[in-house]
């Protein structure tokens, strides 16, 4: 039988089997119930004490968002200046230079917003100090920010009517101490004993078997790789991310990395159901998300395993599938699976070069990022899905002539307006961003910039357009993967995607939390015959339809110009 196919089936099943108990555990942790990790309480109390935090202070949704924005602002300022000065700071054994202001701007934003776009290359663009004290730090705290925001949203629906939504700092710290850090230690150990370096030594040099002098970049990467996946960050230690043999040494680590990036997003869905005591709703949401994932995964597999027709014509055997940009130890099947999960979830780490994938693979990757809520990123996946849910509630309410309600709270004009604005934000940022880039490329290709726009693209024609579309989509989705042929390490891309990243992160967090906060404060209406039930199969199908229709309407024209057009030229 096909061991490559077995590999991904086992990976997915293991993910779900591990995510369910993790979700139940998380619901207890955040509800303050007894769990076996309570031995960590003294550590947490120490952190609160040193930070001057009183976790008994209850916050309403606005205070939560103020706390969230404040600490994120602190990180932006801190990270920006350290990246600028990294050449003058210690722990830089390879003597890498400091970042230019526009690159530091892009990099720090990109890590604060859980995206990890990486317009630099890990081997030459950062020092060990900035890898750990800026980038890895932000990988932890940006994931914890997303989870804490999701817990605020959970809190709004746990009790009938409430404005006291817990303490932001408590949710944030617990996301690290009870979830991200313990799992990272475990995974870091697996990586370390599979061949990923952990020591602080700089580059090594040796004479190869054939007599060439070779330099090898290394560094304490194991811990970084653990949190990059668990926190759905995706930024790699090395330039090529998890395609690098030291970053992803073998098939086992590949399975571990694939499980690690999906496990928390699924667990958060389960946790939601247990936390608000509506398990059926959680299973329905999980069902919609899973069907969505499979609808992207199957065609991706089929397009990659079919191989490249242009290469087939040369008489080359593509027995396992297309191999350009892929590693032999993973094979096309696991690479295809990875490319699906890393785009539906906002990880954005890669184990193959997406730029070299087949045209339709690119289409499904783009669509996964555009929808951005089939499981979705750490915490934020649930928030994104909630927006679709509110739209579905509103539309169904109109269709059957009932007052739209969600979990016993009336959904009124204000909430729907917020949801509609957030829904419109993504297509606006992606399409306007791509349009500006395409305009500059075609009309000002020869502009006297450090990098001329006409040299941006690594591939001609439709695929070149896809490279720009992908970069904007990835930024808006806070994904971080790229069609890396795009020359993105220059002022235009650093600045433009920097703004897309910021807007694409914080508005889609504030929007849903605001809706939840507003709803939670409203009078609770007990369920009656007139209630629109949101945990039924019919309503789930409705939500699925809303997701498909909204995204198809928004993005079909752009997708037709990029990957679809490329497909029809290659397979004519």
């Amino acid at each position: 039988m096909n061991t490559e196919l077995f590999g991904i089936i086992a990976t997915y099943l293991l993910t779900v089997v591990l995510a369910i108990p993790l979700g139940i555990y998380l619901s207890k942790v955040f509800a303050g119930e007894k769990v076996w990790t309570d031995f960590l309480k003294p550590l947490e109390n120490g952190i609160y004490k040193l930070s001057g935090i009183n976790i008994k202070e209850q916050m309403n949704w606005k205070q939560h968002m103020k706390a969230l924005m404040t600490i994120n602002l602190v990180w932006l300022v801190y990270g920006f200046f350290v990246l600028l000065q990294q050449d003058k700071l210690p722990l830089n054994p390879d003597g890498n230079p400091g970042m230019s202001p526009d690159l530091a701007f892009n990099t720090v934003i990109s890590f604060v917003v859980n995206c990890n776009l990486q317009h630099y290359s890990g081997e030459s663009g950062v020092s060990y100090l900035t890898q750990h004290f800026v980038l890895m730090f932000l990988q932890f705290v940006s994931a914890a920010t997303g989870i804490a925001a999701a817990v605020v949203f959970f809190k709004a629906f746990r009790d009938k009517t409430t404005t006291a939504l817990g303490n932001f700092w408590e949710f944030f710290v617990k996301s690290i101490t009870r979830l991200l850090l313990p799992l990272s230690v475990l995974m870091g150990l697996i990586m370390a004993f599979s061949g990923t370096p952990t020591s602080y030594q700089g580059k090594d040099q040796f004479i190869s078997l054939q007599g060439d002098t070779v330099h090898v970049s290394r560094g304490p990467a194991a811990g970084f790789i653990a949190i990059k996946h668990l926190g759905t960050n995706g930024g790699g230690w090395f330039g090529v991310n998890s395609a690098h043999p030291l970053e992803n040494p073998n098939y086992l680590t590949n399975m571990v990395e694939m499980i690690a990036q999906v496990i928390i997003p699924i667990a958060m869905v389960i946790a939601f159901g247990y936390f608000i005591r509506r398990k059926k709703l959680a299973w329905m949401i999980f069902g919609v998300m899973t069907i969505g994932m499979l609808m992207l995964l199957f065609p991706t597999l089929s397009s990659e395993l079919g191989g490249n027709p242009a290469i087939a014509k040369m008489g080359v055997s593509q027995a396992t599938g297309a191999m350009e940009g892929k590693e032999v130890r993973f094979g096309p099947t696991a690479s295809a699976y990875w490319s699906t999960v890393t785009t539906i979830i906002s990880t954005g780490s890669v184990n193959s070069m997406h730029d070299s994938g087949m045209p339709l693979t690119g289409l499904w990757q783009l669509l996964g990022m555009m929808i951005n809520s089939f499981y979705g990123g750490c915490g934020v996946g649930m928030l994104n899905y909630f927006i679709y849910l509110i739209i579905a509630v509103f539309i169904s309410g109109l269709m059957v002539g009932r007052t739209p309600e969600f979990l016993g709270h009336k959904v009124e004009a204000r909430e729907v307006k917020i949801a509609a604005l957030i829904t419109l934000l993504s297509p606006f940022l992606i399409l306007a961003g791509t349009a500006i880039a395409a305009y500059v490329f075609t009309n000002h290709g020869g502009a006297a910039w450090a990098v001329q726009p006409k040299t941006w693209l690594n591939n001609p024609g439709f695929h070149g357009f896809s490279e720009m579309l992908y970069e904007m989509t990835s930024s808006n989705a806070n994904n971080g993967s790229g069609f890396e042929g795009l020359g993105d390490g220059n002022t235009f891309w650093n600045v433009s995607t920097g703004f897309v990243l910021l807007l694409g992160r914080f508005l889609p967090i504030i929007g849903p939390v605001a809706i939840a906060g507003l709803l939670g404060a409203k009078k609770f209406i007990p369920e009656s015959a007139g209630t629109l039930k949101t945990d039924t199969l019919t309503f789930s199908l409705m939500t699925f339809a809303v997701i498909l229709v909204l995204n198809a309407l928004s993005y079909f024209p752009a997708l037709a110009l990029g990957p679809l057009a490329e497909y029809f030229t290659l397979f004519k």
Binding site: I71, V141, G195, F206, N250, G307, T320, E324, E327, R329
Partner: protein, 188 residues
């Protein structure tokens, strides 16, 4: 607002110590007990380092098995794929050239025997592996050049083939560096 700002700064400092000090130092300590002692597993010949087990290196001489094409010429100070699109006409030419070159050095090859991994660039540019078929097509050339029995070389390839995880998951593969070191050791 001011209260949140102070709390944010203090919390950031505390977490920096925990997440960027304690956490990686612990892993660094634990990694010291791994095979490569935390610096990556090295392959030694006669007491000299000839490479890293996981990092592919360039092989162009006829007495060795060759690895995959690399977009960065196996320069492990960096890493990179070609990022060429499947539909790029220049890319088609590149692949055609690689096919022609393989056929030149392996004139006995028939159409359909060349596996895709031998004519396409890897994702990292440092892929240490080739497929079983990628090794199989080179056996005759290596054996002829080294004046070895083809079966001896084929046996060596078989011994150096790494099978799927637990026999169940993932592809089979051959580590090119390890195979070539084993080849060199044959003579001794």
């Amino acid at each position: 607002m001011k209260k949140y700002l102070l709390q944010s700064i203090r919390l950031t400092v505390v977490l920096l110590v925990l997440l960027c000090g304690a956490y990686p130092l612990f892993l660094s300590f634990a990694g010291g007990f791994s095979k490569g002692k935390g610096g990556g597993e090295k392959i030694m010949v006669d007491g000299k380092v000839v490479g890293y087990a996981l990092i592919g290196q360039s092989f162009t001489k006829p007495q060795y098995f060759w690895g995959r094409p690399s977009a960065v010429s196996y320069n492990a100070a960096g890493s990179g794929g070609s990022n060429k699109a499947a539909s790029n006409p220049d890319y088609e030419k590149d692949v055609q050239n690689r096919v022609d070159s393989l056929l030149k050095y392996h004139p006995y090859l028939k159409k359909g025997e060349i596996p895709a991994d031998m004519v396409t660039a890897s994702g990292s540019g440092l892929d240490p592996n080739i497929s079983e078929q990628g090794a199989a097509i080179q056996i005759k050339r290596v054996a002829e050049f080294r004046k070895l029995n083809e079966k001896t070389v084929a046996d060596l390839v078989a011994r150096n083939t790494e099978h799927p995880l637990f026999g169940l998951f993932g592809p089979s593969k051959v580590n090119v560096l390890k195979l070539n070191v084993a080849l060199d050791n044959l003579k001794k």
